[in-house]
């Protein structure tokens, strides 16, 4: 291994450690236990599949028999769950079972046997591992699609973004879907690079697995189909991925065919929250549960970067993935729940990483400077909420004023190399400050802070 590889390896390990630590800290209480009962329901599905051979969970579907029951893990009925009993249904087929099996297996291995044993302290652990794995996968994908610098930035941003950190703790199927999709995309990129058909077959397997976490994982198949160029590879990819996804049907039919079909029909007729302002809401807000918004500027940077990328390059896999999921997001009417947005994040962070890397190495750092002020300003605003420091505000005002003017001047006189170097140094400084503010803000989000988030 050469010096560059060692350096990259060391950096990635460091980012993984930081990302993991930030995800683990306060993970038991933020988001509050019970704020999404799906977290428990997913684990109960896995636990009941292991112990009973039948999935049991909370159902939100109409026309399906449910049994009102009180189950009080983490004493949620004394805190976040107001009043009513839970609509327990069995066999539970609302979603495919893989997220249930992941969280339920960990709960079972740690000794949980009944539903009330399940606690966020146990079931969020595997999700944090998956979310940390995502950091490495984002690094690899950005490396294969763009450049080492984009990979470094994208991984660093995803590892430290407060939204990605808190969202990456929740036992939601999207947190299983994402790593499967990313693995599939990494394999497709490697297959193209080394011209290996076997890797495409393996990519198809993981794309199929994404569907076994949630039906919206079909995006992994759609994006794969749009990325693959050769007809023969395309046929194999489709055949393998669809056949893996169809295991959900065989699973349902084997356990209770009649109930499975009834749930599928009810799911097809399900209407919830497809607001006509869904795209505006998606771009301008950062929702995390069904009610909580955690303000984070990085996704907006990602959306702006996507626009720049779509204008500049020929259709890139990144644009394919983001827009394919946008189509699925709108089809599934996902605006009501923050966790439906989780699959956007890896791609928004890769886009942001690409945009900032272009600012550092490319011709025009001005836009990168302006865009960086979004997350930096938000983070500083949150960190110093209620306690504004006059010296900091002065630095921010005059520093950004000077940097923007400097960047403009460097564009007016491009032949003055010293100006361009000064702007890039300023941009790097801003980037370091933004990442440091990410870490400080993320560490601030404990249970007391969480109560104030709205």
């Amino acid at each position: 291994m050469n010096k560059k590889s060692w350096l990259i390896g060391f950096f990635l390990s460091l980012v993984l450690v930081i990302g993991y630590q930030l995800r683990v800290k306060n993970s038991v209480n933020v988001p509050l236990p019970g704020q999404s009962l799906d977290e428990y329901s997913n684990a109960w599905v896995g636990l009941s599949l292991i112990r009973l051979g039948v999935p049991v969970g909370i159902s939100g579907l109409s026309g399906i028999a449910t049994y009102p029951s009180y189950i009080n893990p983490d004493r949620v009925f004394s805190s976040t769950v107001p009043g009513g009993a839970l609509a327990i249904s069995y066999p539970w087929f609302d979603h495919p079972p893989l997220m249930g099996l992941v969280s339920g297996s960990v709960a079972y291995l740690r000794g949980d046997r009944v539903f009330e044993d399940v606690s966020t302290a146990t079931i969020r652990k595997p999700i944090i591992w998956l979310s940390t794995l995502n950091i490495a996968l984002i690094f690899l994908l950005a490396y294969l699609w763009f450049s080492p610098l984009t990979a470094v930035l994208a991984a660093l941003l995803y590892a430290t973004s407060p939204l990605a950190i808190v969202g990456g703790r929740m036992v939601q199927a999207e947190n299983g879907l994402v790593p499967m999709w990313l693995i599939s995309l990494c394999l497709l990129a490697l297959a193209e690079k080394y011209n290996k058909t076997d890797l495409i077959r393996l990519a198809a397997f993981f794309a199929g697995l994404a569907v076994l976490f949630k039906l919206s994982g079909v995006v992994a198949i759609i994006s794969g189909v749009l990325i693959i160029r050769k007809r023969r590879d395309l046929i194999e990819f489709l055949a393998i991925s669809i056949s893996i996804a169809l295991l959900f049907v065989f699973y349902g039919l084997a356990i209770d065919g009649r109930e499975f079909i009834a749930v599928l029909m009810s799911n097809a007729e399900r209407t919830y929250g497809i607001g006509l302002n869904a795209v505006y809401d998606l771009i301008t807000s950062t929702k995390i549960t069904s009610t909580k918004y955690l303000t984070d500027g990085w996704p907006l940077v990602g959306w702006l970067a996507l626009g720049a990328l779509a204008l500049k390059r020929k259709l890139s896999p990144l644009v394919i993935c983001l827009t394919s999921y946008l189509a699925i997001y709108l089809l599934f009417g996902s605006v009501s729940y923050g966790w439906y947005r989780i699959p956007f994040l890896p791609f928004l962070f890769i886009a942001a990483g690409y945009f900032l890397a272009e600012g550092i190495t490319g011709l025009n750092p001005l836009l990168s400077v302006i865009v960086l002020l979004i997350p930096l300003g938000i983070n500083l605003g949150k960190i110093f909420e209620g306690n504004p420091l006059p010296w900091l505000i002065s630095i921010f005002r005059f520093g950004t004023f000077g940097l923007i003017l400097l960047a403009l001047t460097s564009l007016v006189w491009p032949e003055k190399r010293i100006l361009s170097l000064a702007v890039r140094a300023g941009l790097l400084l801003l980037l370091v400050a933004a990442i440091a503010s990410n870490i400080v803000y993320a560490k601030m989000i404990d249970v007391n802070y969480w109560y104030k988030v709205n």
Partner: protein, 139 residues
């Protein structure tokens, strides 16, 4: 033999094994007793108390008319609860108290309670109907 042909033969075997395993596992493992135990047994890590006023239940059931109100008068304090009537399995005063105690990890012996419904004294075996309002004094 092409790759896909070999793949689908292997796939067919895997599906067959999966279906057989799932059916066998359900047949062998499922019982209503175990299901009830999993749904109702209390957590091994749950803190137990003999004070029925220590823990509250947040909010009200969101089911029109399908509720039961329980009030406990403990020494120096009182606690009010609204339960979803449909979730109470044994439709008696004792059944409702048992359900609430299970939910909150209360170990108090129900015989140490003196309960009233609409000013009239009731026993633990008396039936309940939805919208009942029961008040129990902890002796």
């Amino acid at each position: 033999m092409g790759f896909l042909k070999k793949y689908f033969i292997a796939y067919g075997i895997v599906v067959l094994l999966l279906v057989v395993f799932l059916k066998w596992h359900k047949e062998k493992s499922f019982s209503n007793d175990l299901l009830t135990q999993m749904l109702t047994a209390q957590s091994r890590s749950k803190y137990r108390t003999d004070d029925p006023c220590l823990y509250t239940l947040a909010g009200e059931p969101e089911v029109a008319g399908q509720y039961l109100k329980l009030t406990f008068l403990c020494p120096g304090k009182e606690a009010r609860f609204s339960l979803d009537y449909r979730a109470i399995v044994k439709k008696t005063v004792g059944g409702a108290i048992e359900e609430l105690f299970r939910l909150n990890g209360v170990t108090l012996d129900s015989s140490k309670l003196k309960c009233k419904q609409g000013g009239r004294e009731v026993s633990l075996t008396d039936p309940i109907v939805n919208q009942d309002n029961i008040e129990c004094l902890v002796l």
